[in-house]
Symmetry: C4
Subunit: 351 residues, 4 copies
């Protein structure tokens, strides 16, 4: 038995340490989990085209998203209820992201408030993920908490007018044991996540809402959950600062394409007007380089750092991020790019 | 062990409860069962393209077929010999369809007469499936029974000039223990289904027969078993009210494409002149939405409600239909369509 | 346990009854047996497009090849050393073919002479398969035996300048226990088949040889083993009466396409000037109908009747042929063709 | 149990005889070993198109590379640390190559010096593989050793600015037990191969280095590790004598295409100006013929002869080479080519 060498190893450790319900929550998808599997399968449909005898004596994985510096082209994606994975949950994962030199995205459905996370990891750059609620006051309250705590971008989840049918959670008897303090009184209710959503989330949210939310938030807004060129164009028209191609990790609508397969049409549609992120199935540095080559500015990764968090707290999560950074550095070197900016479309082809 | 969460769960329950011969009859296909598997595989070749930030605060699955209202875009397909699945067979399934707000299609080879089913579930909308017999008088008798009992459409099975070679039934020692009362004297014969067919069914039926049958039936006729653009055009020419794309659930000619893969060419051929239904492999709400996106007005589903019937009678079948309705509603919401009518071709793409 | 219902069942019976070496000889292919598997896989790449409401009240599977009548579009392919499968080997299989109303092709490497087979089944139509030997006199002797015994076509194997590397035979310890009486003195040598070939077969045979052989044989010559349009054209130019698309059942060059996948280019190249046969992987009536739709006049089938022979002698082989005829009849009916001549290219499409 | 019949058999023997760490070193790839598997899978995407009735009475597998004669279109690829596989390692494998009439390529990371190998197998033709070191003096020293020992071509590995992440080696606890005498003082250090590389290899090597190395070496230089048309063109421009398409046997960047799939674009780009070699996944004579048909002059094979070396020393390796030669001869005969020069692009097609 060696120490964990890659994200897959951390996934196995997390599976051992989490109770089956929590594992089902984090690892599972919706319906028949076809899209969950497609997220991984999509990466295997694209091959890297390595260029050789390029000077890669010095390789840096550092880049920026929205002008904000990152040590690698990866932002920690929002994941809910992290106290299930670790007693200090979101705070611990935010520490890891800061230690790794990248951005942590706090979920609306976090078990710590935006202020708590900000206070625990001062000086770090952070994003905040937003669900829009039926109760506009509640939405405003949450956005204001994020703004006041100095979050630097708003990741607006747009693929969840309702929660996907995550049957694996039901079969595993999953129940959230934690409240959501950012939601105030709701925090005490300890509702199952389905119940939170049925009661709270606004299915009627539209592109117009993006505009008042952006104005209220006074920070860049990144709609997350775009899977089509059509919606990418609408996002640009409605003032999105970037778009995140995502199928919610296979947790919302099953039967949707793997995220990487949707990336090219989105990149083509936005035509450089905004940055594009992508989310779903990232487990290796080569996945990140494929995403860069297809036009992503960076990836979002949720499960990978959570496996590290579950396996070893902040240190485990930071090690996962460092593994991914080192793998990305190696992949850049071997593909013949001294930095993310040197990765171009010709670095990938179809199988 | 949780309660059944999806159609797959009901399938497992049905397998437990049915004797192996009946299971083989309902679940099996013909030959090497390649087409049976293709019916499912075809759905995985098409991906949903979800549109986001559409107002799906209110979603309705209701639609119409031939102008007749349905609570979801699904008609219960004809299945023979339902007393094998439940003591009250066809009547019980008709009750479930009515309770679910959709249409039940009674098979010619039913173990209850058209009148019995009509009498047991008054006020409900029903279709009748017809096999054309060598004995024209027998065909006329059956059509008249359906007409007099108030059935509102005739589903004319066109893919069964002979019965497919369903070897699984032979291997399982399957024998029908019930007669077919609609056929009168034949009802007592208790022939195996192959024998019913060899003796009764007219292999020489042609498109011209569709015309006198329609006139006799005085109701819309829907040829079921169309797998090509050529036949779709002939159906329209010969006065079909709608066409049903179907390979008879993989039970007739093995080696035929999955039904969903044949749908686009049929939809293109009929070019909106008649409605198109599709049948084969529907197990999930996302399957229904894919079919709608490819141009189907609704799907026909046989095995799914029969699994519910076998597992829990009328209540079980109604629960299967409600599960499929709820899944369809969720899929519509997540694809960004507030109703079946809002689903368009761009909601699907190829894998 | 039911009686055998299809060719697969006979294959299982044959496997039980043959000793492992003989099984390896008949069932195996060359190299990694990729082409052996592709022969079956190729059939699954083509789907039948059934036409409905065609008058198929009467369906006949009868056809002709080279103007010679057949009860079904299938000729029994040449297979060597049939006494390994049954004490009366070739004679017994010839009886089955005659009983089934089709043509038996006797192999050069048979364990009975052309005259013995002809004498045992008088009145039946027979073809003879020829390998060209280094010793021209030996070739002439064999052809003359076939001519004098009244064989009506010469199937000239063109894909065997050397024997394929059939490692499975070596691993199974296979050794032929029978001589080849048509070869005269050689018959006593009881060489392993590899040795027969190494010593006897002419690797230097070319298209010019086809001409003197045809003249000597005074019967139509059908080159068997054509896998390209280029060779199909050469065959026509050099006077072939028909061509047989074949990869020798996956026993010669591994890595070659499945035979059915090579059929379309050959059919296109010959453009109706000669008939086209195809050989490899036929196990079902639907396989035969797919081959017809792609332009074959008939299929050659070797292993399928040999499984019948091994399982039940002449009767078993005849039953396999009748099963295939009945399946073909059913497939014709369900595809909407009352005879092989009514099958057209539009009856198949790609998966 | 028969004697080994093919390379797969030798692979199994080698696996038995090598300790798990050495096995992991030779057999494994990097990352998830996707590219390792693709190297084999790529061969199955191309099918041979055999031509028949070509005179193949005499078939020769002999060819030339860079004008140097070879008994078959296969050069033994460089493999490091061969004393792990056999006490006499490189010398023993060089003997096998000479006995088989082909060229042995000695690795820079060999456990014998260029002079030792040359002295032990006098009169044989040999190539030398070069890694470029940070320390230019070390590079010069190694090149000079090769030049002075009469090596006839320099295989310049261009895909290894850093070593791939070969996790399988770490999991197996692999550690090199041998030094690299060509590197002089370093030879004593017995560093793990990763450490050799981290400390020694120049990630900053560029195309310009190819020029001074060629001048110093005074022999033809073959960049190995080209996977794109772009780099193939640069290689030609910078004076490469040939190019070797290779992904380093799946040991460098995982996620890269199978080598055979990259061959066509390289062949098209160089347009006959230099010869093209290909490396990765060769296990059968048909693989070699497919590579020839796609435009390779010859293949490089590393693992196959090493399995022979591990299983039976020089004799085992020579037998592997002879097996591949005999399989190539058979494949040439069956594809209708009397020599490698007669193989053309039309001898392969896509599956």
């Amino acid at each position: 038995v060696t120490e964990p060498l890659c994200v897959h190893d951390y996934e196995l450790l997390a599976r051992e340490r989490l109770d089956p319900g929590c594992w089902a929550y984090y690892a599972g998808g919706s319906g028949d989990e076809w899209t969950l599997r497609e997220n991984r399968a999509a990466f295997a449909r694209w091959v890297l085209r390595p260029r050789v005898l390029v000077d890669v004596g010095e390789v840096s994985t550092a880049t920026t998203v929205l002008g904000q510096p990152l040590s690698l082209p990866l932002v920690v994606a929002p994941v809910a209820y992290l106290r299930m994975a670790h007693p200090e949950g979101e705070v611990e994962l935010a520490r890891a992201a800061a230690a790794a030199g990248t951005i942590y995205t706090l979920s609306t459905m976090a078990t710590a408030t935006p202020a708590e996370v900000a206070g625990a990891v001062p000086g770090a750059n952070r994003w905040f993920q937003l669900y829009v609620f039926k109760d506009e006051g509640l939405t405003r309250s949450v956005v204001e908490q994020a703004r006041e705590a100095g979050y630097s971008a708003l990741v607006l989840t747009v693929d969840t007018p309702r929660l996907g049918n995550r049957e694996g959670q039901v079969r595993a008897g999953f129940n959230v044991q934690f409240g959501v303090p950012a939601l105030g009184a709701i925090a005490d209710a300890k509702l199952a996540p389905q119940d939170h959503f049925r009661e709270l989330v606004a299915g009627a949210t539209t592109w117009r809402d993006l505009e008042w939310i952006a104005e209220l938030a006074q920070m860049p807004v990144i709609p997350k959950g775009i899977m089509t060129a059509e919606d990418a164009l609408l996002a640009v028209e409605h003032g999105a600062a970037a778009v995140a191609v995502s199928n919610h990790g296979g947790r919302q609508l099953d039967g949707v394409a793997g995220a990487l397969d949707a990336l090219p049409e989105v990149v083509e549609a936005v035509a450089g007007r905004v940055e594009v992120l992508v989310d779903g199935g990232v487990r290796r540095g080569i996945d990140i380089v494929k995403a860069l080559a297809l036009g992503a500015r960076a990836v979002l990764a949720g499960r990978a750092p959570v496996w590290g968090l579950a396996a070893g707290g902040s240190e485990g999560a930071a090690r996962v991020l460092e593994l991914l950074r080192a793998e990305t550095e190696l992949a850049l070197a071997l593909v013949g790019a001294a930095s993310p900016d040197e990765v171009v479309r010709a670095h990938v082809g179809r199988t």
